[in-house]
Structures are given as structure tokens and as C-alpha cells.
Amino acid sequence: MSHAVEKAGLYDCRDAWVKTLCDLAAQDPRICAVVNDSVGSSKLGAFQKAYPERLINVGIAEQVMVGVGAGLANGGQVPFVSAASCFLTGRALEQVKADVSYAGFNVKLVGQSSGVAYAELGPTHHSIEDFAWLRPLKNITLIVPADPWEVEQAIRWAAAHEGPVYIRLSRMPVPALEIPGRVFTPGRATLARQGSDVTLIACGTVVHLAMTAAEELASEGLSARVLNMHTINPLDEAALHEASKTGAIVTVEEAHLRGGLGGAVAEFTASHKPVPVERLGFDGFQPTGDLAHLFARSGLTVAGIKAAARRAVARK
């Protein structure tokens, strides 16, 4: 990859995903993985080697992949259905809706290489619509881990939780977040930084950018709170009530501007305490470009987040 953030001290979250899944599988024979020829891109080689009978590769066939996940759950297994999120949520959306959500099966959907991780491969391979597609499926807990620690927590929680889950992973290297004493509770945002002038609400790969932006804003005299909203559904409404009290909100996500984290926050604030909300994300199909280019042109940078924070504060 050619993007600017790839450097020492960064982690590919897929490593935490497969290590955690192998650990869980060692203790629980019900854990299995279902893939669409995506053993490599899901980094499931180690799992396949250790548990070949529990790695179900259906080939390039996303509809049957998700249906098989529901069937495995019917048969008492705990399936993790892992595939590039663009195909998992796009190609198989009706199976996700009917077989997983509506039927209410205990299926864990793991969207790999989400957002614009496939950068130059273009919008067919980008998965920026997934939040908007899945948010109305209310019984699917929708988790967007921001770093390897959160990935491990999310996978462990999902395995223990009875019910459908969507975990959105990325192959984009990210730093380990420095949030002392944090605990992972689905549906409860993590307060990454205290602040009073504006609240930056971020998820996934861009949380660290929001934290850096808040740090710089502090030295420039603006006090920005940072929420790591690792769960998009259910949304942490208590944290949003508190965020509203800062009088201005910025949402930051590697996803479409319509219907994602920003949309969810705007729905909440419009219904409770309207405050200015600036939303950062992608406004539709993206042109050819590497990750750094795509992030920069949509303001998903430290400078872009700071500018959005100032716009939000100016609208108070």
C-alpha cells in the first residue's frame, strides 16, 4: 500500500481478528468461520490450518455464504461469516436482512477491508454504504473497532453474545489508541478525551485522527471532547446527550455521509437537542486514488477535522 499512514507502530487489525478467533475456537467447538474464497483476505490461514473442518469456504458465492451462516446457527454452531464488507453487505444484503436479522439467528458478520481500504480498486470494492444498509436492521449490533485491542474485545464479546452482530474491520494500518483504563462495552461510547467546546465523535480507522486533532485544538485554545463511538447500533444516547451539552458536534467516519454515524447522530440531535453537527465522510462514489488521497479530499485528516470543529463551533 502506498498511503501516508503506513509506518512503524501501526497495526493491521486482521491479525488481532484471527488470533482472537483461533483462541476462541480452541475453547469452543461451536466457533466456525464461513468465507467466500476469502481465506487470504480475511487472514484466516492459521484458523484453516488449526480447524479445517470448521472453516467453510463456499466459494465465490455471498448469498449462500450468509444463508449457510444462518443454517449453521440453526444447527447450534456460532458462525463468523467473514468476507470483504462490500460483498458481504451489498451482494448478500437480502440474506443479511431476512436470514440473519429478521430470523434472528446467532450469526456474526465480519466485514473485512471496509470503507475505502481497497482505495485504487474503486467504488465497486469500497464499502462506505454498509452503515446505511445495516442500521435499520435493529437487532444487529454494529461494531466498528478502532484498533487491535478493540478488535479483540469485539470478537470476544460477539462470540459470547446471543444474537446477530456485524463487526466492521479494516486492513488499513492503525495505531493502538492510548486511552488509559478503557473498557469495551458495546453500546457505550468510550470517552477518549474530555473537552467542553465541541465533541468529536468518531469510529473505526479515524478515531486516532480525531484524537490528534483534539490535542492540537487544545494547544490552539479550543477544548474538544472525543468520543470513540465504536458501536453504531445501538447508539449510546446518554453520551450523545452529554455531547449536545458542548453545543457543537463533529462526526468522523470512513463511510458514506448519508445514513452512517453522522446520520445517526443527526437523527438523535434533531429529535432531542438540536446543535450544529458537521459531518465528515464520503459523499458518494470516490474517484481513483490512494488512501491518503481519498481521505484528504473528504477532509478525513487532522487538519480537516480541526477545520470542521471550528465550523461547528462557529455555528453555535
Binding site: 466456525c32 466459494g59 449462500v64 444462518a70 449453521l72 446457527a73 444447527g75 431476512a98 429478521y102 430470523a103
Partner: protein
């Protein structure tokens, strides 16, 4: 089996047809044509083939039946009710406000329903997953899935067929309700399916064609075992059992008026 199950299956099938048509007549909603083409298949499964216990719908070792043609709720609800999964006094609520008996089956509302169906092409992949779970766990239950024939036009069935053949899932039986009619026209004039037997043979299935209203033939086909997934093409008649409904496409989701209902009840004896 010590006792001949055929008279019981036939009696249940007759009750199912009369009851389903009563439900459809009352609700003025439903899909009676497809209910009737599938009735003898379901009656044979529930009352002559499957290992199941209505008192324990979540029993881990139960045989599973997936009603992929989920619109034929008149058939699946009457089969489950006759088997004892829920009381008869639920039936008049069919498709009424707040009823557990939705127009398509929901496993969270109705005991015995294995998965929610309705959109076509969903049941076979789920049944495949159930069969794979049996393979992983070593449980010896069998999984049966019934699709419509028009439903075979959905590509997801062929994804599932490839995987089932590849894995040689001998614990899986696909039944196709081959009534040759889909919603508005014949299957062969819409997007032809024949030769369906050759197609499934090519996908690695052991294929058997039967008269889908011949209970004895169905019993033989549904209890047979082999070393590969099985595909039973059940040649059926849409609207079977009521003279004016048989082989008439409009009875896919046609509903009877009072005179038609009375005539059907007179014929279903």
C-alpha cells in the same frame, strides 16, 4: 415402521387442504394453489418420515424441514398445527392483525418453523448450513428443504447446489415442488427449467422423480439414503384436489368467493 403410515398421512393431508382453504377463504388472502401442490409432500414428511417432537421444537437432534416456498403458509401452518406445534385456535387468526400466522412464516412467532422465508431462494442455502452443522457436530439428523419450481430461477439455489454437491452432503434432501406454474405463467414459458433432473445430476445430486401426490412413492423417495445429496423432483399439480383450481395459474394467489369455497369443501372429502 410397524403400522402402515399411509392412511394417517392421507387423512392429515385432507385435513390440511380443508383447513388451509378455510383460512384463505376467511382471510381472503393466501397462496392456495401452491399450498395444495405441496400438501402431500409436507404431510408425508411430518407424519411419515421425519424424526421430530412437537413438544421440543429446539431438540438438537430433530430432523429439519425448511419451507423455502414461504408463501405457501397454508401448507406449512396446517402441517405444524396437525403435528401439534401450536393449537388449532391460532388458525382463524391467519394473516389477521397481530397474528403469529404471518403471510410468510417466522420462526420467532411459530414453533416448528426453522427459518424465516418469503423471499425466494433463501431456504436451500440455510438448509445447506444446517446440513454442514450436522457434518461438523456428527449429529445424525436429516435436513429437508422444499422449494417451488419457479423458485429454482433464483441463482442462490445454484450456489447452494454447487456447495452441497462439492461437500457430498448425504444428510441433505432438496425437494422441488414441480407444478410447472409460477405466479403468472408456466415455468417453461417464463425461464425454462428442464431438464431439471440432468441439472441436479450434473451438480452431484442423486435425483429421483416422483408423483408428488403419491404418498407411497413419496415415502420411498424421502426415506431413501445414499452417499450424496438427494434431489427429489416431485411432479405435482398446482391447486391439487379442487377441480377448478388444478393447473390454473391464477390460483397462485387467488382466493375463493363463498360459492367457490363451498364447492371446494364439497370436493375435498
Amino acid at each position: 415402521m410397524q403400522n402402515d403410515p399411509i392412511p394417517l398421512i392421507r387423512a392429515r393431508a385432507l385435513w390440511m387442504r380443508r383447513t388451509a382453504f378455510t383460512m384463505v377463504h376467511r382471510a381472503q388472502l393466501g397462496h392456495p394453489g401452491g399450498d395444495f401442490s405441496a400438501t402431500d409432500i409436507l404431510a408425508t414428511l411430518y407424519f411419515g418420515v421425519m424424526r421430530h417432537d412437537p413438544a421440543r421444537p429446539a431438540w438438537e437432534d430433530r430432523d429439519r424441514f425448511i419451507m423455502s416456498k414461504g408463501h405457501a403458509t397454508g401448507a406449512i401452518y396446517t402441517a405444524l398445527c396437525a403435528a401439534g406445534y401450536f393449537p388449532e385456535d391460532w388458525l382463524p387468526s391467519y394473516m389477521q392483525n397481530g397474528s403469529p400466522l404471518n403471510g410468510h412464516p417466522n420462526r420467532n412467532y411459530v414453533p416448528g418453523v426453522e427459518t424465516n422465508t418469503g423471499p425466494l431462494g433463501h431456504g436451500f442455502p440455510v438448509a445447506l448450513g444446517i446440513a454442514i452443522a450436522g457434518q461438523i457436530t456428527g449429529r445424525d439428523y436429516r435436513t429437508y428443504v422444499l422449494t417451488g419450481d419457479g423458485e429454482q430461477q433464483e441463482g442462490s439455489n445454484w450456489e447452494a447446489a454447487m456447495v452441497a454437491g462439492h461437500r457430498r452432503l448425504a444428510n441433505l434432501t432438496l425437494i422441488i415442488d414441480r407444478n410447472r406454474l409460477q405466479q403468472g405463467a408456466g415455468t417453461e414459458e417464463t425461464s425454462g427449467l428442464d431438464p431439471l433432473d440432468k441439472k441436479y445430476e450434473a451438480f452431484g445430486f442423486e435425483v429421483q422423480m416422483v408423483d408428488g401426490h403419491d404418498v407411497s412413492a413419496l415415502l420411498g423417495a424421502l426415506t431413501a439414503k445414499g452417499d450424496r445429496p438427494r434431489c427429489i423432483i416431485a411432479n405435482t399439480v398446482k391447486g391439487k384436489g379442487v377441480s377448478f383450481m388444478e393447473n390454473v395459474a391464477k390460483w397462485h394467489h387467488g382466493v375463493p368467493n363463498d360459492a367457490e369455497f363451498a364447492q371446494a369443501m364439497a370436493e375435498l372429502v
